[in-house]
């Protein structure tokens, strides 16, 4: 079955395969419109694409290792949503930066210093609580960014963002439910959730001060404020807030540098080595 067949809602479609698939970019002009800075657009697509690709890879690492069969599939589904976002964003980046590179060139044939993901995304998986906490933070932030970008001056980026919003709203819901379940669960689960939040605290500043999408309509201060507020509410439900003040998500111990400038932790290289090994061993293969 080709992709095209899947998008057609024909009478021959069988219930078990699902029907009525939609192409999020159907009918949208791919030309970069006048008034959009192509360099900003490419940088934004690359950064958000790298966040998604690296996050997807970390989520995929749970395959065969998740605590429950159902959660394993949930994590894989979320990863695949993000992988889909990365593919569209890379394709847009290749168009905007004038290189004409396809998605594979970005995913498989760049070295760690060329990646622009924030460092929080590349940290090793740790335990389930850390995966939940990181996914909560990243999906809340990314949802705020994508909602703003859904009205971006570039129609392709706007369409990708609009598609992503629906996916991210589910990721946020999944992560928020588990945050509350663990935070408000047993002593052990609450302790692990608190440890996970402590572990990611030093990386929050990089995320909350990120201005990659600023010139395309996602105002950093507004995105950061909304991220803080939403996290505050979820952590309050989970009994995990240390203070009643919305603003002190503890970002005081932040670590200097930024993945947005290509400065990464040592954890990114092995992640990419695994991700890229097959494509680099067989550079002309198609799949």
């Amino acid at each position: 079955m080709t992709d095209e067949d899947l998008y057609v809602d024909g009478d021959g479609a069988r219930w078990a395969f699902g029907t009525g698939f939609t192409d999020p970019l159907h009918g949208i002009d791919q030309t970069v419109p006048d008034g959009v800075d192509a360099e900003d657009l490419a940088a934004c697509c690359l950064a958000l694409g790298d966040d998604a690709l690296v996050s997807a890879q970390r989520l995929a690492e749970w395959c065969t290792r998740a605590p429950e069969l159902e959660e394993e599939l949930a994590l894989a589904n979320i990863g695949l949503d993000l992988l889909g976002q990365a593919r569209l964003l890379y394709a847009r980046a290749g168009r905007a930066d004038g290189t004409g590179h396809g998605e594979d060139a970005y995913a498989y044939f760049r070295d760690p210093e060329d990646f622009r993901n924030i460092r929080l995304a590349e940290l090793p998986g740790g335990d389930f609580a850390f995966t939940v906490a990181r996914l909560l933070v990243l999906s809340v932030w990314r949802l705020a960014v994508c909602e703003a970008l859904a009205t971006a001056p570039d129609p392709v980026l706007a369409a990708i963002a609009a598609k992503s919003v629906k996916e991210l709203a589910y990721h946020r819901r999944w992560a928020a439910e588990w945050t509350v379940r663990l935070g408000d669960g047993t002593e052990e689960s609450a302790a692990r959730m608190r440890a996970a939040l402590d572990e990611l605290a030093p990386w929050l500043d990089e995320l909350l001060s990120d201005s990659t999408a600023a010139r395309l309509g996602a105002e950093p201060a507004a995105v950061a404020a909304r991220t803080r507020l939403e996290l505050f509410h979820v952590l309050a439900d989970a009994g995990l807030n240390r203070s009643t003040d919305v603003s002190p998500l503890d970002t005081s111990a932040f670590l200097p540098g930024s993945g947005r400038n290509g400065q990464h932790t040592p954890h990114l290289a092995p992640l990419l080595a695994e991700l890229q090994s097959v494509a680099r061993a067989h550079p002309d293969a198609s799949w």
Binding site: W15, A16, F17, G18, T19, G20, F21, P67, E68, L69, E70, L73, A74, N77, Y170, R173, W174, E177, R181
Partner: protein, 98 residues
Amino acid sequence: MSPTSKAEWPLYEVFVRGKRGLNHVHVGSLRAADDDMALLHARDLYTRRNEGVSIWAVRSDTIAASAPDEKDPFFAPSGDKVYRHPTFYDIPDDVPHI
């Protein structure tokens, strides 16, 4: 995790209404800690291929089911009563779903 330390999550039965379907159809089972989680799991397990527009999840132990050894008393008596089928009507072409 040792088997003794792990209380198993309760079993749920999942019913999905497809885009083309008029009613919810049983698609399978899953385990979940509570109703909310059952819905998320049902979404993740049984609607990944764009099958559904609505989900019901029901605790399996709340379903009243007929027993296999009562199959004959339950179902055999209707086996020879063909007159109960309304086969003697002409159904107009424009009446759907019959």
